[in-house]
Every structure is written in structure tokens, then in C-alpha cells.
Amino acid sequence: MSDDILSFENLTVQFGGVRACDAIDGHVKRGSLFALIGPNGAGKTTLVNAISGVYKPLPGAQVQFHPAGKPTEDLLSYRPFQIARLGVARTFQNLGLFMGENVLTNLLLGRYIHEHTRLIEGGLFTRRAVKRELAARQAIERVVDLLDLGTFKREPVGDLPYGVQKRVEFGRVLAMEPELLMLDEPMAGMSVDEKQDMIRYIYAAQDELDMTVFLIEHDMGVVMSIADHVMVLDFGQKIAEGTPAEMQQDERVIAAYLGTEMAEN
């Protein structure tokens, strides 16, 4: 238990009569790459939304976050912005970027929780505000270098190609320096080259920046090659969990992905 960074138990999210997530248990090991897979509508994004505080799960659920060197936090008692400040960051499947703002502004917003410039300090542009702005700028410049975003810095995000937008959003959560990084389909709609780049970036986040990665992904090939631990959802139920190799052999997983009849053949 002690090497878990996140554990959730009996997590149920209900919309009207539909159980998008039904009593799901899970543990994410510190420093690992945890992948959540499943067909469309399996409840993957709902699970991430429940952990990051956007949806409220039904009573009886438990979501615990174990930051390194700090006491365990019960995430259900916090609001989303507090959860983000505890060190849980996430990206969105359909991009949560601010399209009218340029890349720098978007990335600097990732530093919001770290450099605390107050409104009046910022307005007077005091020495301290300048120092903090510079610190934020230096932090995001590292991200810019890591993700090769240098040429786009002053472009409005809305004008950039989709693959670059995905990278900017990834950069923004990296700038937050979270302990737990939840990526909701970071490679959706990308070409093979872009996917390989993204895998490189995820590895960099995990190894160099010491983040635990919680990944939702559709591409089985990608998941099998990079994940340490895989959880499979289908219709809101957890149907299997284990190492990627085990999952490839699991009949329920094959059935969920390929349909029952083909699995029988």
C-alpha cells in the first residue's frame, strides 16, 4: 500500500439511470505508468473526471491520494482546483486549451499554482512580481525546449495544428509539475510519427520529472509497449487488470475489444 500514489475503491458515478462507472477499485503505483483502456463509452473519462473532482461519485466511494512525504488526502472532500493544487493534473480528450490565447499564456497558466503573484503586485508590476513572472517563464521555457514548441510561442493556440495543440496541453500539465499526471487520450487523432514523439515526451515526464502517469489510451499497440499496469473497463465495469502481457491473453479483454464471436474463432 505504501508505494501507491492513488487508490480508489468502490467508485460509482451515475448519470440518471446509467452507471458510467460501477464500483471500480484500483491502485496506481508511484512512478509507474498506469494505463486505462476500454472501448468507446466504457467510462474511462468519467473515472478520470471523478478522480479530478469534476464529477461527484456516489456515496461509499473512496479516492485517496498519497503525496510523497505528506499525509494521505481524501480527494472526495476537495474541489477540483484544490485537487489540482495537491499535485494531480490532467489533460482533456477534446483539449482544454484557451484557444484565443497564445502558447506562452497557456503554458504560463500551468504555473498558476506555483508562482503566487497577487493582483495588486501584478498591477503595480513590483520587483517581486517581476521575479515571480521570470521564474514562471524559466520553468515553462524548459517545457518549451522539451516539447519543441519554440517556434510557436507567440501563436494563438487556436491557429495551430491539432498535434501541436495536444503537445501544448501536455506541456501545460508538465508545467504544473504534478505528482500524478492523468492524460486523457493524449494520442487521439495523431499520426504515427506524432504518436512516437508523444511517447517520448511521456517517458521524459515519467523518468526525468518523476511523475506518475495515468494514461487513457485507445491504441492497444501503444499501451502494450509502454504501460506497466493496465486496467480494462467495459460498460462501466472493470473487466480485467494486470500487466500488458496478461491483458493480451485475457479472454474478456479480447471479447470486449473484438466482439465475442470473433474471440471464439
Binding site: R79, F98, E133
Partner: protein, 446 residues
């Protein structure tokens, strides 16, 4: 500006770092020359002054253009408000323009065709007051995305605070009333923003409109309790003045009775211009630092803003508080400048006027608020002149029979045209023009 891996030798040729003296020199010249021009009001012909002005403008712009850091900028240089050569040129020109303007307007120059010279000073001062209020309004409505109609309510709050602190307590002390109004505006503004935590768009608009009427009630009660139906007099014995211990300052020559009263357009300009410029700079700085970025994030997507660790409720209330504080201050200034405030000084029409200003000027652009208020005040003056003097227009009786209606109709028509063809307003137009000038200069330059 871009990160290019040039060999060091090549890098040196593109990198240029002017010394601090060079960086500041154009601004220093721009700041000093108007006072030299102003001190020689009597003995130099207007046209000579105009010529000197144009020459100085060109020189200052060119110097600011050339002496701008170039090449790979450090992060600190990249953070500067005036970063590019064109930004710095325009900043120097604007500094010069703001300082030279009162001297030009105070001169006894008579333009051809009876162009109304004397009234323009009053218009410029009104533009300054309105620009401050409109910039704050735009910060809230355009930049933070919180649609509010409570703008005039805060102008009224400014008048109330001006009445209590500036007239009843201290007899014409506007200097105390200003910070007091900012404080009151921030507190009341945060309260008026509470509906924004639950409501958005049209519903928020209606809720803040309700606040407008509540404030009007407060205003009327206050007026009748202490001042009766005459209204508050901010003129005469209540005019703001410079305290006697500050009379040693240059340019402050006390009147015969030993007091320096802020009265007349020229003196008011020197009060209004610095306050407006400083408050607009304050808002510009807020917008480009942490909390300002959070305003934009909350406007665009509040869910993703909250997942970045932004307390959306706090950010919204902060936007309301900041905007209302500045608007209340502009309310105090307007009260003392106009000189009296009565029962019918505040109406719904004024909210619409501010809406016209920010739509025409450019939504969510603080610069746009300045252009918008200039447009709003200069256009009627120009129409009036055209009706009376312009050779074909003055013969059309219809135009002079319904002057204010036609002004409004033309304004409305222009708003529609701008919304259709230039949705980012005059600020967007200005950006295009600036880009065009910059490109043609760059083409010719080395």
C-alpha cells in the same frame, strides 16, 4: 526573438543591446519637449510649434525604433510591455502626444472653417474619464467574460463616496475621495459579483441590472437625505485643490487668494491624464500577470481553469472588485470634473453608451476602450461642426432639426458596420494600420 541555434559569430551580428541611456532617451525627449513648447506660448507662432512637434515626433519615433533590443531576447526583455521596435516607437509618440496635447489645445489657434477648437479641450478631458471607466468595464465584460450592466451603479457609488468623503467630511478633498471610492468600489463590486458564481451570460446580465436599480435607489435616498433635489455641488467651494504645502512644485502658481484650485480644462487635464494613464497601465499589468491570465482562463473554459488550480469563484469576484474599484474612481473624477450630480445624472442610457464604447473600440482590448471613448465623444462634436459649417450639409434643415437623434442613429449605424466588418473594433483596425506602417518602414530600413 526566435530560438535559433546560430554560431556565436552570427548571433552577435543579429543581437543588439542598446545602453539604458539610449533606451530611455527618446522617452526623455518626448517628455521634455512639450514643456519647452508650452513655456513659449506667447512668442512662437502656432505653425512653428506644429512644425517642431512633427519633427520631434518623427525623431523620437525613429530613435525609439532603432534603439530597441534585437536578436535573441532575454526573458526579462521579452516580458516588457513595449517589446518590439514598433511598440516602442508608438509608446514614445504617445508619451509626447499626451504631454503636448494640453499646450496645443490651450493655444488661441483658430482652425479654418470655424472648427470648434475651444470645445475640444472639454471633450479630451471627458475622453480621459470615459477611457478609464470603459477600460475597467472592458476588463470585466470583455476580458473576464462577466457580462455586467452594473457599470453606472458604480459611477453612482463613486459620486456617493465623493459626496460623503469629498464634500461632507472634508469639503472638496477629492484626493481622499479617490482611494476611498476605490476601496468601496472593490467591496461593493465583489458583492455585486456574487450572482456571477451561479449565473452566466444573459442571466448574469439581468442580475447585475437588478443591482443597477438597487444602487439608483440608494443614490436617490442619499441625495434627498443630505442634499435635497438640487443635487451635490462639487464645484466652487467644493472644487479639489492642491494643498498649500505642495505649492513649491514647479508649474503650480497659486491664484490671488493663495489657493490652487483645480478648475478649467488645462488644470483638469493634468489631474485626469496621469490618473487615467496610471489606472490603465495598472489594468494592463494585471492582464499580463498571473491573476489576469486566470481571468481569461475562466472566461474561455471554467472547467479547465479550475483543473489548473484556479479558484474560479475567487477569480470572478476579483475581476468584479478590480473593475468596480476603477469605475468608482472614474465616478469620483467625473463628479468633480462635471461639477454637479443630481437625481437624473445616472440612467440606463449611460450603460448603453459604455457598451457602444467597448464594442466600437474593440471587445476585450483595453486599448479599444481608449479608442472607443475618443470615438464616442469626438464624433458628435464633428457632426455638430459638419451640421453648422460644412458647405452642403449645413443647408439640410432636416439634420439641424433633429441633431441628437441623428447623432444616435449614425452611432448605431456605425456600430452595426463595425460589428459586421471589423469585429475586433477600432483596436483591430489600429493594429492593421500599425502593422502596415511597420512593414513599409521595415522594407525601406536597413
Amino acid at each position: 526573438m526566435t530560438a535559433v541555434e546560430n554560431p556565436p559569430s552570427q548571433q552577435d551580428s543579429t543581437t543588439y543591446r542598446p545602453s539604458t541611456v539610449r533606451r530611455l532617451l527618446p522617452f526623455a525627449i518626448a517628455a521634455v519637449v512639450p514643456f519647452i513648447l508650452g513655456s513659449t506660448t506667447e512668442n512662437v507662432n502656432f505653425w512653428w510649434k506644429a512644425l517642431i512637434t512633427v519633427v520631434v515626433l518623427a525623431v523620437v519615433a525613429r530613435m525609439a525604433w532603432v534603439w530597441t533590443p534585437r536578436g535573441e531576447l532575454t526573458h526579462r526583455e521579452d516580458m516588457r510591455l513595449w517589446r518590439t521596435p514598433s511598440d516602442r516607437s508608438w509608446a514614445a509618440v504617445t508619451t509626447f502626444g499626451l504631454l503636448v496635447l494640453p499646450f496645443i489645445l490651450a493655444s488661441d489657434f483658430t482652425p479654418p472653417m470655424d472648427f470648434p477648437w475651444a470645445t475640444w479641450f472639454a471633450v479630451v478631458n471627458l475622453v480621459l474619464i470615459f477611457a478609464m471607466g470603459a477600460a475597467a468595464f472592458n476588463l470585466l465584460v470583455g476580458y473576464s467574460g462577466q457580462i455586467s450592466l452594473a457599470h453606472v451603479a458604480f459611477l453612482a457609488l463613486g459620486s456617493i463616496v465623493g459626496g460623503i468623503v469629498g464634500v461632507q467630511w472634508s469639503g472638496g478633498n477629492m484626493w481622499v475621495a479617490l482611494p476611498a471610492a476605490a476601496l468601496a468600489g472593490a467591496v461593493v463590486g465583489a458583492i455585486s459579483g456574487l450572482p456571477a458564481l451561479r449565473l452566466k451570460h444573459l442571466y448574469l446580465l439581468l442580475a447585475t441590472f437588478g443591482f443597477h436599480f438597487v444602487m439608483m435607489l440608494v443614490w436617490r435616498e442619499y441625495l434627498q437625505e443630505y442634499f435635497g433635489f438640487v443635487g451635490i455641488r462639487f464645484k466652487g467651494e467644493n472644487s479639489p485643490r492642491i494643498a498649500s504645502w505642495l505649492h513649491w512644485l514647479p508649474g503650480i502658481d497659486p491664484d490671488d487668494n493663495g489657493e490652487f484650485i483645480i478648475t478649467g480644462q488645462f488644470r483638469w487635464y493634468w489631474v485626469l491624464m496621469p490618473i487615467t494613464v496610471l489606472s490603465i497601465l495598472f489594468m494592463v499589468n494585471v492582464v499580463r500577470t498571473r491573476e489576469g491570465r486566470a481571468f481569461a482562463a475562466v472566461r474561455d473554459r471554467d472547467v479547465s481553469a479550475s483543473l489548473l488550480g484556479i479558484n474560479v469563484a475567487r477569480s470572478k469576484l476579483l475581476a468584479f472588485a478590480l473593475s468596480s474599484a476603477v469605475v468608482s474612481m472614474s465616478g469620483v473624477l467625473a463628479s468633480f470634473y462635471i461639477g454637479s450630480r443630481g437625481e437624473d445624472s445616472f440612467n440606463v442610457q449611460t450603460v448603453l453608451n459604455y457598451a457602444i464604447i467597448i464594442v466600437v473600440g474593440g471587445f476585450s482590448s483595453i486599448q479599444g476602450a481608449i479608442f472607443g471613448s475618443a470615438f464616442f465623444w469626438f464624433l458628435p462634436e464633428w457632426f455638430k461642426w459638419a451640421r453648422e459649417e460644412l458647405w452642403i450639409v449645413r443647408d439640410i434643415d432636416f439634420l439641424s432639426d433633429y441633431p441628437s437623434e441623428i447623432d444616435l442613429a449614425i452611432k448605431g449605424f456605425l456600430v452595426v458596420i463595425i460589428l459586421m466588418f471589423k469585429p475586433d473594433g477600432l483596436a483591430g483596425l489600429w493594429k492593421d494600420v500599425k502593422g502596415w506602417i511597420g512593414r513599409s518602414l521595415a522594407r525601406r530600413g536597413p
